[in-house]
Symmetry: C2
Subunit: 299 residues, 2 copies
C-alpha cells in the first residue's frame, strides 16, 4: 500500500569536526520519504523554492517518490545549518532560514486524499493537522515531532497526538512532555494522550515500543563510525511506515519487524552526510543488516 | 562449579530524594556474591570489622556463601555514604571510611585456591592481583572495576586486564580508558589489552558484549521504578559468573544467556535499597523475568 509523507523539505549545511557539507538534500520529509521508498510507494507533500537543485528532484524520482504534492514556489528553499561536536551527539543550530516554508499551506491532490498510511514527519503541528484534515479515513496515522514544538506549540501538538495511531519521539522529548525520568513510565503517560503505539527513540541505544502487544526493546544497528546522524530519526520512522504499508496482516503484529527495518535504514543514514549513503543502499544490504540484528540479539 | 569472589564488603549509607538508609549491607563482593549464589556455590573473600552486624553474616549464610575467606578484624567495617539525584543516575559520594579495608591483605584458604571460576569484583587492582596470584590455574577469570582505579592505579589495572578472560566496565569508564566515544570501537581497543570477552555496561540501556561469538546487544530488564541502583553493576557481573559456573558446555556459548540472567538479577537489585530486594528473590522469579526478556526482544 502507499504512504503519504508530509514534513520539511530542506537544504542542510552540516559541519562536523572533520568536514563541512553545504546545501545537502535534507528535511524530515526527504529522509523519511527515501527511507519509506525501499518498501512502499511514497507520495511526498512539501515545498521548495526556485533555488532547489534539479539533482535533488531527480534523487526523489530515482526512489519512485510521487512529487505531485511537492510545490515549487518563487523564493528560497528552507535552509538549516548546524554543527556537531566531536562525540556526534550534541549539535547546535547555526542558522535557520525558513524561505518558502514560512507560508507553506499544502493542498493535497485528490489522488492523495485516500492514501491508507500517513506519516506526519517533523513539522509544525498546525501543518500536520492541516494535512490530516484533508485525508479520508486513513488506515494508519503516524507522527514524529521535535522539542521546538513542545516549547512553542504544545496545545496543537497535544491535539494532534490524540488523532494518532503511532507517536514517535526521542527520550529527551519524552522527558520534556511527561516530566518522567523513567522511559517506561513516560510511555504509559503518553498512551493516555491517545496513541495506541508509542515509540521512544534513544539514538545509539536503540528504541522502545509500547503497543497492544506489550513492550518491545529494539536495538540500534551497531556502527563503528557515525559520519552524520542528521535525519536518522526521520529515516527510522520513514522506514517503519514504509515497511508497515508493505506488510500483510495486522499492523500490531508487524510493528516490531518494521522497527528493526527502521533501525537498519537509520544506520545507513548515519554513515554518510545528508542522504548520500541512504540513496545508494540496495534492498539486499538492508536485509543483510536485519539478519545481523537477529544474530546480535539472540540468546 | 564453584565461584570465588573477592571485592569490597561494606556498610553503605544511601540517600535518595525520597529516603535515607544507613548502614545497609553493601560492597561489590556482597552484591556479586548474593547474585552468583542463585546459580552456583560461592566463596567470598573480604574483610569486615568487629562492628559488622551479625544479621549480615546470617544473610550471607542464608545464601549458602562460604565465609572461610571472610576476615573479621578489630576495627571498623568499610563505610561508604552516597546521595542520588532525582533521576537516580547521578550520585555523589558523601563519605568514605576505609576502616579495616585500609590494610586488607587476603590469604586464600587452601580449599579456595583451586576454584575454577574467579570474579575479581571492584576493588583496588593490586588486591585483585594479590588474590589471583594465589589461585591455581582457574578455568575462567572475570573482573570489574571503577573510574577511581583508572584515575589512580591505571598501570596496575592494565596489568590485570591482560590476565582476564572477561573484563566488565561501564560506558564512561570505557570512554575514559580508550578515549573513544563509539562503544563498538572502544570494545575493539579493550580486546587489544588482553581479554577475549569484554562487556560494556550502559545502565538502563543494557550492555554490549564483544567476544569470540561476535557482538551481543543485551537488554536491561525494563523497570518502572528504580529504588536504589547501588550494586546493580556488581549484581550483573556476579550473576554472570555464577550462571557461567553452573552451565554445561563452552563458556563462549553460554555468555549471552549468562548476561540475560545478569540483567535480571540487576533489575531486582534496583528495586530495593542495598540487598533488601535481591535477598528475597526466588529462582522462579528470576526465570520469569528471563522469559519476559525473551518476549521483549523477539521480532
Amino acid at each position: 500500500m502507499s504512504v503519504l509523507i508530509v514534513g520539511s523539505t530542506a537544504l542542510d549545511s552540516i559541519k562536523t569536526p572533520k568536514s563541512e557539507n553545504p546545501r545537502l538534500l535534507g528535511g524530515s520529509a526527504s529522509h523519511a520519504a527515501v527511507a519509506a521508498s525501499f518498501f512502499s510507494p511514497v507520495q511526498l507533500i512539501g515545498v521548495v523554492g526556485k533555488d532547489f537543485p534539479r539533482r535533488y528532484v531527480q534523487l526523489y524520482q530515482r526512489h519512485g517518490i510521487d512529487l505531485d504534492g511537492l510545490q515549487i514556489l518563487p523564493g528560497k528553499t528552507f535552509h538549516w545549518s548546524g554543527e556537531y561536536e566531536a562525540n556526534m551527539n550534541n549539535r547546535r543550530t547555526l542558522l535557520t532560514e525558513l524561505g518558502v516554508f514560512e507560508t507553506f499551506t499544502p493542498t493535497l491532490p485528490p489522488s492523495h486524499q485516500k492514501t491508507p498510511f500517513v506519516l506526519l514527519a517533523n513539522i509544525a503541528p498546525a501543518l500536520q493537522h492541516h494535512v490530516l484534515n484533508q485525508m479520508q479515513r486513513p488506515k494508519f496515522i503516524a507522527a514524529d515531532t521535535m522539542d521546538l514544538w513542545l516549547n512553542i506549540a504544545l496545545p496543537d501538538l497535544l491535539k494532534l497526538i490524540k488523532r494518532l495511531d503511532l507517536f514517535v519521539l526521542n527520550d529527551s522529548e519524552a522527558h520534556q512532555l511527561t516530566k518522567e525520568d523513567n522511559m517506561f513510565t513516560a510511555l504509559r503517560k503518553i498512551h493516555k494522550l491517545g496513541p495506541k503505539h508509542v515509540i521512544i527513540k534513544k539514538g545509539s541505544h536503540g528504541s522502545i515500543l509500547s503497543g497492544p502487544r506489550g513492550f518491545f526493546i529494539c536495538p540500534a544497528y551497531p556502527l563503528h563510525k557515525v559520519v552524520d546522524p542528521t535525519g536518522a530519526g526521520d529515516s527510522f520512522v520513514g522506514a517503519i511506515i514504509g515497511h508497515l504499508a508493505s506488510s500483510r496482516g495486522a499492523v500490531d503484529d508487524n510493528m516490531r519487524r518494521a522497527m528493526i527495518y527502521g533501525s537498519v535504514v537509520a544506520s545507513f543514514c548515519c554513515e554518510g552526510f545528508g542522504l548520500m549513503r541512504t540513496t545508494r543502499v540496495k534492498r539486499a544490504q538492508i536485509e543483510k543488516r536485519v539478519k545481523e540484528l537477529e544474530r546480535l540479539t539472540k540468546f
